[in-house]
Symmetry: C2
DNA sequence: TGAACATATGAACAGTTATTCATATATAGA
DNA sequence: TCTATATATGAATAACTGTTCATATGTTCA
């Protein structure tokens, strides 16, 4: 019950494949960043915001009204989206307008939708 | 301080835009499913598993060895990936081999990477 | 300057999630 | 049948996350 610290109790089964795959894997850091990016997409509030901004530039209050959520909640999420460099903003007096800051968002959404609709 | 239940304290600023965007938004349910899908991508362990399986079919023990993680942790995550219809498996004796079950994974990854690398 | 308002932000809380641990299931071989 | 082994799974825990609430910041206008 304490024979190997490696993986499961047994030895590796297919050592060649493991080494082969290991060579093809991107650097740990890249994969981490990729997961962090998708984590940002993994919330329906943020998905809605991105979708809305893909249709039109909007101010915080408008987004809150559109999604029927508090101004604070939206503001917090916009900060997350901005840190991920997915949205940008411009200020006009008191009002802050947000818009998409990425060309890939739409394509990522489309691929995601393609998966969801697949086989139905 | 209690004038409107809507969004923030004020009235909606750009009502036309809101209605216009509202019409363009996909159904609530679709956006929820989309977020659920990306949530699955939003974990570096699962990202690594998917990347590995994109390179080669592998059994549970091999994946655990490759990622230097416990068999149990990998098995739990494979279940999540299978529920999301991102991987499939086949049994050969005691050994269960997992492989990708989706054509979009690679493209979603590529778009994600494109975003990460953008502007550097 | 002061009131009104749009937005941002910190703390707190509830809900979620990834891993570990122990154990169950299933299969192969003796 | 008994043992070894590959995988699955339920419970528990620690860490993380989204929203709310209260409040701060910054801008306009009177």
């Amino acid at each position: 019950m304490n024979k190997k610290l490696e993986c499961c109790d047994s030895n590796v089964i297919h050592e060649e494949i493991i080494n082969q795959v290991k060579d093809k894997m991107p650097k740990e850091e890249i994969l981490y960043d990729l997961a962090e990016l998708f984590k940002v997409f993994g919330d329906s509030t943020r998905i809605k915001i991105l979708w809305a901004l893909d249709a039109s530039e909007m101010c915080v209050c408008d987004i809150a009204a559109l999604l029927n959520m508090s101004q604070s909640a939206i503001s917090h999420q916009l900060r997350v989206l901005k840190q991920a460099k997915l949205v940008k903003n411009r200020k006009e007096g008191k009002v802050v307008y947000y818009s998409l800051d990425d060309d890939h968002v739409r394509q990522i959404f489309d691929q995601g939708l393609a998966h969801i609709y697949e086989g139905w």
